[in-house]
């Protein structure tokens, strides 16, 4: 049987030629900002790395009381266990970073406007879930740093008025972080979150295929004959794959030169080491809460926590709902306000994160 005959046999049953025809006709805009189109693909690639390395870690990881010992074995005994763990941990950070870049590029190119509102909303939900993935995964080694960082990190949901304390208790499985917390976070990390994330990711990718890549308003304003495009397949896919390879190298570089280490086993009775802080992507809200704590100290401390949570909620709500505020194709007053709001958010994140790390130093 020749390869053509095999292709025909499969094509007859799966409709491959229709897919190929779709890919051939689909185009991607080419302009000075095309570089930002690759960040969604890079995020997807890093998620695939997470899945692959996560499954391998599952082979040896034991949640609960043996969590620390199993991670110690993975890092210091198993052949290339350190590599799998480091690749998993670094790709988590890189994935959050690339999703953030992807989100801001979509925002500043105003790619959330009609008909792409669901793409924006689903993307935001994916970012939210990815950060919970990061938070739940950080505890799993159950060393000193992850233990105290989780304790500190849980201060953020605990500060939510009325439901905060109950929510934090439910996540911890008790009044304090313990083996029960590891069990819960593990279940969340490997079952609950993937079960939500995967279908949502499928929906997001389907929307991207349906509506294609959005051009920024300056390109949309050009007459059609002046707009350049390239075929999605094979040109864009080829470049996308090259970007994946570059991302793989950055990951290999980080995992090899800065392998993820393991601290001392956690001791709930020991004092928290100096400089405990959550992962970099939670540093901004963490620092905001601390700064508000300084402003509203003493008997106003509770007020400060509520003010912080309200500020976050308002900010996230405004960010989430931007497609419904800036919905015009024209670049009018609303677009300018949205643009300045975006810049404000970027500066806020950068400054509070920098202050957070500076104070730790």
């Amino acid at each position: 049987m020749t390869s053509k005959a095999i292709y025909n046999w499969v094509d007859e049953r799966l409709g491959l030629s229709e897919l190929a025809a779709f890919a051939r006709h689909k185009t991607v805009p080419v302009h000075s900002q095309s570089f930002w189109y690759y960040w969604g693909g890079i995020s997807l690639f890093l998620f695939l790395v997470q899945c692959f390395t996560g499954v391998l870690l599952l082979v040896y990881y034991r949640p609960g009381a043996e969590a620390y010992e199993s991670v110690r074995q993975i890092t210091f005994v198993m052949h290339f266990g350190w590599l799998i763990r480091s690749a998993h941990a670094w790709s988590a950070s890189l994935m959050i970073f690339s999703i953030l870049v992807h989100m801001f590029s979509v925002y500043f190119m105003r790619a959330y406007r009609k008909p792409r509102e669901f793409g924006w909303l689903s993307g935001m939900a994916l970012l939210g879930i990815a950060s919970v993935f990061g938070f739940s995964g950080y505890l799993l080694p159950m060393d000193e740093l992850s233990y105290f960082a989780t304790k500190v990190g849980l201060q953020i949901p605990a500060a939510i008025p009325w439901i905060g304390a109950g929510l934090a208790n439910m996540l911890r499985g008790g009044p304090d972080v313990s083996e029960f917390t590891v069990q819960r976070f593990f279940a969340l990390h490997v079952v609950v979150l993937p079960a939500i994330f995967l279908p949502l990711l499928g929906f997001h990718l389907w929307l991207v295929q349906r509506h294609g890549n959005a051009s920024p308003p300056s390109i949309e304003a050009l007459p059609p004959e002046q707009r350049k495009t390239m075929p999605f397949f094979p040109n864009f896919v080829r470049k996308d794959l090259a970007m994946w390879l570059i991302a793989l190298n950055i990951l290999a570089l980080l995992a090899s030169v800065f392998p993820w280490s393991l601290g001392k086993p956690f001791d709930p009775l020991a004092p928290a080491p100096l400089g405990i802080h959550p992962e970099w992507y939670f540093m901004s809200p963490f620092e905001m809460l601390k700064l508000l704590g300084y402003v509203f100290s003493g008997k106003y401390a509770a007020l400060g926590e509520i003010a912080g949570i309200l500020l976050f909620t308002l900010g996230i709500a405004l960010w989430f709902l931007i497609p419904f505020y800036d919905n015009s194709k024209e670049s009018g007053q609303r677009a300018r306000v949205a643009h300045y709001f975006g810049l404000l958010v970027v500066f806020h994140l950068l400054i509070t994160t920098t202050i957070g790390y500076w104070l730790i130093q």
Partner: protein
């Protein structure tokens, strides 16, 4: 032994050499590969039928030769001098051994280097001014001269890893130069030469992609397509042959050094040299990626290949080259010259003598004053008023001199391979027993695989332990009480 005042905090003196060397290797290997690329490309252009493409190719090559001249003749030369300067300060004893053994080799290399410099200047300045065949001949002279510099320096570099039994038999007798050719054509010479030659060709293609990427694909589609695709082909020999050459190279390396490659398979434990395994993995991933990215972005998409793509490939090449050079340096541990000189500059046969007479007695860089048993660092390290006077400095001043001489070529106190961190959690007795373990250098000691012995007397061990203990467990400041 090393200069005790040559201390680079945080970075460490090894990295001073490393940074200059990685930069230099990227350029000097391009000088060799590019030396072949230019005349071959010119020959290809001359064989093209008369027409626009041929004219464009020659104009592009003239521009490339300017880039080549500036990069190799200016930055390559300056960084080469930088390496001499840095190795002379970091490893004076090893540098001295190399000079005494290979002075004839270096003389030859410099002759070829002068020919290189002359011909590349002539080559660049005579585009369109002399007969095209003569111009091409100048290019070939450059290519041969630059290849000869590689052929020579490769012998000296590989000697440091595998000096060979014949040279080791006469080492220390003053007749080392009589075994020049044995030392030169040492066991790793040939695999290393072919390996480097392949890397040179790959770097030529990668650097050429930088200039080719700047051609406007819309205005000159044929030029850009042919130039980019031809440059990518220069990567092919390297990536087909490199895996086999690497196996050959490692096959020729002594088993003890081969074992270093596997140390990091199952651990990332600090201080265990697991970094070599990790770096080796990085080389494999990065090299494979260069092929993939060059194929997808350049060969299959030549007209859309732009400068940022080319720089991405160049950065990947920089990582691969840097990792390769780093791994090669690490493979030599615990020696700087295989089986002859440890990485802290102590010659292997001198160990027992130094253990009897004391480390500082064999250092040229300490102030030796009134009493045989007391030494100071050179005068500028102690207040001028005390120079020549009775030594009243505490013991750990001697310890610091020993630290700088015996540990400083690989370790810093608080930066790269920081002893303060590696010894953290140990008290004075524990530090002392660790140093004693390094001093005893028993056959079953795991540190023998990558660390030289600590040489010196019992007093030296105590002095070094005092100094290191003061760094790891700094004395508490006395609590000030308010005066009544």
């Amino acid at each position: 032994m090393n200069y005790p005042f040559w201390e680079i905090p945080i970075l460490g003196s090894g990295w001073v050499i490393g940074i200059i060397a990685i930069f230099h290797v990227m350029i000097s290997q391009f000088a060799v590969g590019g030396g072949l690329y230019l005349p071959m490309a010119e020959r290809k252009a001359m064989q093209m039928p008369e027409g626009q493409l041929r004219t464009e190719w020659l104009a592009q090559l003239a521009g490339f030769s300017k880039f080549f001249l500036i990069l190799t003749a200016v930055f390559g030369t300056v960084s080469g001098v930088g390496i001499w300067f840095a190795i002379g300060l970091t490893h004076p004893e090893a540098t001295s051994t190399l000079i005494h053994n290979f002075v004839f080799g270096w003389a030859m290399e410099w002759v070829f280097f002068l020919v290189e410099l002359t011909t590349i200047i002539v080559y660049y300045n005579t585009w369109g001014k002399i007969d095209s065949k003569l111009h091409l001949a100048v290019g070939w002279v450059y290519a041969v001269a630059s290849l000869c510099t590689l052929i020579i320096i490769n012998g000296i570099l590989t000697f440091m890893l595998t000096p060979g039994a014949a040279w080791l038999r006469v080492a220390g007798t003053g007749r080392e130069a009589s075994k020049f050719w044995y030392a030169f054509f040492n066991p790793t010479y040939w695999p290393s030469l072919f390996l480097r030659a392949c890397v040179c060709c790959a770097l030529a293609g990668i650097w050429a992609l930088i200039t080719a990427s700047r051609i406007d694909g819309d205005k000159h589609p044929a030029l850009k397509t042919t130039m980019v695709q031809w440059s990518v082909k220069w990567l092919v020999p390297s990536f087909v042959a490199t895996p086999f050459l690497l196996i050959w190279y490692l096959w020729m390396v002594p088993a003890s050094q081969q074992a270093l490659l596997t140390l990091g398979i199952d651990t990332i434990g600090s201080g265990t040299f697991s970094i070599i395994t990790r770096i080796a993995l990085l080389i494999i991933v990065t090299s494979a990626t260069i092929v993939g990215v060059a194929y997808f972005l350049a060969y299959r998409n030549p007209r859309e290949f732009n400068l940022s793509h080319a720089i991405a490939i160049l950065l990947l090449a920089l990582i691969a080259t840097g990792s390769g050079e780093y791994a090669r340096e690490m493979l030599r541990k615990p020696y700087v010259i295989g089986n002859w000189m440890y990485s802290n500059g102590v010659r292997v046969p001198y160990v027992s003598r130094i253990n009897q007479e004391g480390y500082l007695a064999h250092s040229n860089w300490v102030w030796k004053d009134y009493d045989e048993s007391h030494y100071k660092l050179m005068s500028y390290l102690v207040p001028p008023s005390t120079v020549g006077q009775k030594d009243t400095t505490p013991n750990y001043s001697r310890g610091e001199a020993i630290f700088r001489g015996e540990c400083g070529s690989c370790h810093t106190l608080n930066g790269y391979r920081p002893l303060a961190k590696l010894l953290a959690g140990r008290d004075r007795a524990n530090i002392s027993s660790f140093i004693t373990m390094l001093h005893d250098y028993k056959p079953d000691s795991p540190y023998r695989r990558y660390m030289p012995p600590m040489v010196g007397t019992k007093q030296d061990i105590d002095d070094l332990a005092d100094f290191l203990n003061a760094q790891v467990n700094p004395p508490q400041k006395p609590v000030q009480t308010a005066k009544k």
